[in-house]
């Protein structure tokens, strides 16, 4: 497989062109915004919990940016659907990166993790907890709020 096919492989392009979970969520239970100041990618994430106040019932995102950030965020919405907030707040970056399944340079890694970092912040904000050490570094590079 050529470098090209690896990076913009079919599934990435599909998520980029037909993003899942794209849109707003009025009255979300958790939400946050993230930006990658290096390239201007922006994403806002909205989460609605189920009746248990724990299960992720619905997750939506809006934003603009490169194919990697948009596709990764779209894939993320599928990945976390139905899981618990606690579980997702602790989700490892590798789980998402495996799903994305393309080689990423340090610059592009930040694009790929923009959505997940923002989602984590949304969940931690909703729970009143703070981002774990491992993600705080990422939050320094990305503008999360």
């Amino acid at each position: 497989m050529s470098e090209f096919d690896q990076m913009y492989r079919e599934v990435i392009l599909d998520h980029y062109k037909n993003p899942r979970g794209h849109g707003l969520l009025e009255g979300a239970d958790a939400e946050a915004e993230g930006q990658n100041p290096l390239c201007g990618d922006e994403v806002s994430i909205y989460v609605a919990f189920g009746e248990d106040g724990e299960t992720i019932d619905e997750v939506k995102f809006s934003g603009r940016g490169c194919a990697i950030s948009q596709a990764a965020t779209s894939m993320l919405t599928e990945l976390v659907q139905g899981r618990t907030a606690t579980e997702v707040a602790g989700l490892s970056r590798d789980e998402l990166l495996d799903e994305i399944g393309i080689p990423l340079t340090p610059v592009r890694l930040k694009c790929a993790l923009l959505g997940l970092s923002t989602l984590k912040l949304a969940l931690h904000k909703a729970k009143g907890t703070s981002l774990p050490q491992e993600w705080a570094g990422m939050a320094d590079d990305l503008d999360l709020k």
Binding site: S2, F4, L13, G40, G65, C66
Partner: protein, 415 residues
């Protein structure tokens, strides 16, 4: 018999042999390096000279009387003469080595600005300026209570000089800062005109020549400015060094910027007096080998001829604009070819510049996507970022063809 004064042409194919970076092939092809506006590649001549200097002439400069120190001092001071002559400075004493163009601009902002600005004063930059010639002025204005005003641009990225009248009414104009060539759009700005306007008001004119110096002959006396900053790394020299030229009277009146070894005359616990120009502004150990490499780069560029380089880039821009015009959905920015330097900036409708440069990179075509350190300009253009291809003396039309091919592919994949 008529004398024809045709500009010398350069042979980019031949010059490429001087640049080791083109020897590395990926899938049988060298990099199509179209990001020289960010930083240029280095010819063997520069690398050889630096190595020779480190191997046979290196020591700390000044004061030492032994042979290595003498050779190092001679190399460093010859570099100063070379850099001063390159911008037609009246004297090498007016040529201060800095880390970069950015540091040169900060030097003026701090060392002139902190002492000479206050409430009621106005500092002027433009929407077209690089952050390095924008943020220092904004910052020093804020620190001193002066006002910061910005000359806007039109949709093509040319300055709206008619706004100057209004700026004039805002207070005492003390500093006018502008880039000679825009790094985002290639616009060539009217520095002489701005200098004259500044001087009529008793203001100083600061020219950011970071993007101009590699590409066209610079003459500080003809420009009529008071300060001019440029960088080595953009004109085939090493990173880590740049130069600031300043008018002697101003440099002499000014406070120093960085303080420390070598820039002093006498240090006592009570008081310190400053050394002579240019040392007053060169505190501590300077980029010594880098100065020598910078001079080697200037020699290299001079050997080719700045007129030849300018003409070469002009031809490349015309060719590129022509070929890019064929790509559907391509939005170009910047003035017409005859009013710009070797830079083309564009977007592909609906496609993020990062994806464009990533896909181009897969075919080893290197361009830059981003705001190019000109966020105010991006805001004016209504975009977050653009793609930018920029050319230099080693650029060949084949690289532009590869860019165009690549852009077609980008559109096919992501369009």
């Amino acid at each position: 018999m008529a004398v024809t004064t045709e500009t010398q042409r350069l042979d980019a194919h031949k010059l490429r042999a001087d640049f080791p970076v083109f020897e590395e092939l990926i899938n049988g092809r060298p990099v199509a390096f179209l990001d020289s506006a960010a930083s240029a590649q280095k010819p063997r001549q520069v690398l050889d000279r630096m190595r020779e200097f480190y191997e046979h002439e290196y020591a700390n400069v000044h004061r030492g009387v032994y042979k290595l120190a003498e050779r190092a001092t001679a190399g460093y001071e010859l570099a100063r003469e070379t850099a001063a002559a390159f911008v037609n400075a009246p004297s090498p004493r007016e040529l201060i080595f800095t880390r970069s163009a950015t540091e040169g601009l900060n030097l003026v902002a701090y060392a002139w600005g902190l002492d000479n600005l206050g409430p009621g004063d106005v500092v002027v930059a433009s929407e077209l300026d690089h952050h390095s010639n924008f943020v220092p002025w904004q910052y020093v204005a804020k620190r001193t209570g002066a006002e910061f005003r910005v000359i806007p641009t039109d949709a093509q990225g040319e300055l709206h000089l008619d706004v100057l009248d209004e700026i004039d009414r805002a207070g005492n104009v003390k500093i006018v800062a502008n880039n000679l060539v825009s790094n985002s759009l290639g616009t060539i700005n009217p520095a002489e005109q701005l200098s004259a306007w500044a001087h009529e008001r008793g203001a100083i004119m600061v020219v950011d020549a970071a993007q101009a110096a590699p590409h066209r002959a610079i003459d500080v006396q003809a420009l009529g400015c008071d300060f001019l900053a440029f960088s080595s790394h953009k004109l085939c020299g090493p990173s880590g060094i740049g130069a600031l030229w300043g008018k002697r009277e101003l440099l002499e009146q000014m406070s120093p910027f960085n303080l420390g070894g070598h820039m002093i005359r006498q240090v006592t616990v009570e008081e310190t007096t400053w050394g002579q120009l240019p040392y007053k502004f060169e505190a501590g150990t300077m980029p010594i080998a880098e100065a020598v490499g910078f001079a080697a780069a200037i020699d290299y560029v001079n050997g080719i001829g700045l007129d030849a380089i300018e003409r070469h880039e002009h031809e490349l821009v015309a060719y590129a604009l022509d070929r890019l015009g064929d790509i559907p959905g391509l939005i170009g920015y910047g003035p017409p070819a005859d009013r710009r330097a070797g830079i083309v900036s564009f977007n592909l409708e609906g496609i993020h510049p990062h994806d464009v440069s990533q896909i181009l990179d897969m075919d080893n075509v290197a361009i830059r996507g981003g705001h190019h350190c000109t966020q105010p300009l991006m805001r004016r253009l209504g975009v977050a970022a653009t793609n930018r291809a920029s050319f230099y003396l080693y650029t060949i039309p084949d690289e532009i063809d590869r860019l165009v091919e690549g852009l077609h592919k980008v559109r096919k994949v992501l369009g």
